[in-house]
């Protein structure tokens, strides 16, 4: 019986493996391998040197690039899972058509995000204390819970979508799992806003803004990445049945950017009127301070203006939509970086002699990521490219039929 099960297991796994020659996956797999190798070197260097030596974060700015990159990946993942939930659980046909790719993409992007938080946390092994001695009041505890549960749901969805001879019951289960992935994803991302919002000292993060903004920008980014990935996989010429899905994702992305603009407007204006508080300093660091290049070029031009202009003028052109997605995903890095860093640039006391605090003339604390931080970020991309394009190459990610 055991031998039979083993054979059955082997044949099941074997049946999953294909060799998709038409998909241009190899350049991305090689890129992934290179980034993993370079990033792997950085990871080892961090372990040898220690986080304190390896990273550019300071006493004044304890959260830096790796928290930003963690947020970058995991929020895209939950955004993709949100879109998947719309397809699976709410019957949006256009998204259900790409549900297999959605589940695989969401899982791998989430894993890429986990590499970042594992490298950011100084003592990941001690995370066992989150189970032994949990603090239910701490948002980080819930962050671990929600993202952990999200990974389990996505793993279950993976099992369901690759299961041969699917039954009606499997489809129903997939709908439930899709809904749960959407729900837990939204909870996880909005809770990430709460992780920052619960910091007594940092006024910039207080309120409902970031919990909302992160969810909206995550769904927008999910749509952007799905369009981009489909354009790559089909080398720019998508099958006719998928074009409406891409156009719909383009609209979702455009709508998302619109809501982001709305949120930006009121957050920035209301923060300006908190002068001389720390939220005022944070907004000034973005508009006219150390983060102004990131804000105007990265956040505004690359993540808002250019992609929106491309989407508005796309008129069904998938090429333009994918270009918009690509530019948006670059801009989104600045959005995440600024979100994390701007709140920490106002120091907790003036940078006077003896205070131990070092500030610039405008009174902002300093933060500049170290080379190893950048390379660990590249490691995240390496993991994504390697795993996702290997999946494209060796698994069948076409959604043949669905409920």
């Amino acid at each position: 019986m055991a031998a039979h099960t083993e054979n059955h297991g082997k044949s099941f796994l074997k049946s999953l493996i294909v060799n998709n020659k038409d998909i241009p996956a190899m350049p991305f797999i090689i890129l992934g391998l290179i980034l993993c190798a370079v990033g792997g070197f950085a990871v080892i260097s961090v372990f040898v040197k220690g986080h304190h030596e390896a990273y550019g974060v300071t006493r004044q700015v304890p959260w830096g690039l790796l928290i930003s990159s963690y947020a970058y990946f995991v929020i895209i993942s939950t955004g993709i899972a949100f879109i998947g939930g719309l397809g699976h659980a709410f019957g949006y046909e256009k998204y259900a058509k790409i549900s297999k790719r959605i589940v695989v993409l969401a899982t791998i992007v989430l894993l890429a995000g986990f590499t970042q938080i594992l490298m950011e946390i100084g003592n990941p092994l001690r995370m066992v204390y989150m189970m032994i001695s949990p603090n239910f009041k701490a948002p980080i505890f819930w962050m671990g819970m929600f993202y952990g549960i999200e990974l389990v749901i996505l793993a279950f969805e993976l099992y369901l979508i690759f299961k041969p001879n699917q039954t009606e019951a499997d489809h129903k289960l997939a709908a439930v799992a899709g809904f749960l992935a959407l729900l837990v994803g939204v909870l996880a991302t909005s809770n990430l806003g709460y992780v920052f919002g619960s910091l007594n000292a940092r006024e910039w993060y207080h309120g409902i803004y970031f919990s909302t903004f992160l969810v909206v920008s995550g769904v927008t980014a999910g749509a952007a990445l799905l369009i981009l990935v489909h354009t790559i996989v089909y080398k720019g010429s998508l099958p006719a049945e998928l074009k409406p899905s891409m156009v719909s994702l383009g609209k979702l992305m455009g709508g998302g950017i619109g809501v982001m603009m709305f949120l930006y407007l009121w957050k920035m204006l209301s923060s300006i009127f908190t002068e001389p508080g720390d939220a005022y300093m944070s907004v000034m660091s973005l508009i006219n301070g150390p983060l102004s290049f990131n804000f105007w070029i990265g956040e505004m031009l690359l993540a808002v203006i250019l992609p929106l202009a491309l989407i508005v003028t796309a008129k069904g052109s998938i090429k333009k939509l994918s270009m918009a997605g690509f530019i948006f995903l670059i801009g989104l890095f600045f959005t995440r970086f600024d979100f994390v860093v701007a709140g920490q640039l106002p120091p907790m006391r003036k940078g006077l002699a003896g205070s131990g605090v070092i500030t610039d003339v405008a009174g902002f604390a300093f933060y500049s990521p170290s080379m190893l931080e950048w390379l660990v970020y590249m490691f995240g991309f390496g993991v994504f490219f390697l795993l996702y394009f290997s999946a494209e190459k060796f698994l069948n990610l076409e959604t043949e039929s669905h409920h």
């Binding site: 006493r59 100084g122 001690r126 001695s133 701490a138 505890f141 619960s198 003896g354 205070s355």
Partner: protein
Amino acid sequence: MATKKFGIVLDAKKCLNCKACTVACKFENTIHPGEDDYRIWVTELELKGTYPNISQEYQPSQCQHCENTPCASVCPTKATYKSPEGVVLIDYDKCILCKACMTACPYDARYENVHLHAIDKCTFCYQRQPEGREPACVETCPTRVRVFGDLNDPESEASKLLARNHTYQLKPERNTRPRLHYIK
């Protein structure tokens, strides 16, 4: 009998900026050299007045041992906790170094102790309590800027100072209810 409530009353006007407190703290608690590695500090406040009538004050400070502790609330493993006397302490073995407490602290009182591989901060020299000794910064100060004691005991020197003087706390708007009281 009410439990003890440790706190410090500071008369910053007495501060000479000799920094003996910071040195004593480093020796007592084996704090290694490093730009960000310190538990207490003495800020040289901005000059007041115009030349030649100018004056300067100093502000010695440290962890405020808040009654409403923003650092403990965000700690996912309860590594930050309070002693029965209300002293905010860290269980180094439980610290995952997520640094949420550092970002949550409105007083920038915490730092990463590379040697302990955990977050660290002022503990009111809690290790001295069994011997009944005061914190090193209190003991070493030549002008007695800091007075340490049980704020629940009306007969303690700290309580008497608190009763006799107008005092203020740092960043009251943060609602942390610090255990450090500065004499006006």
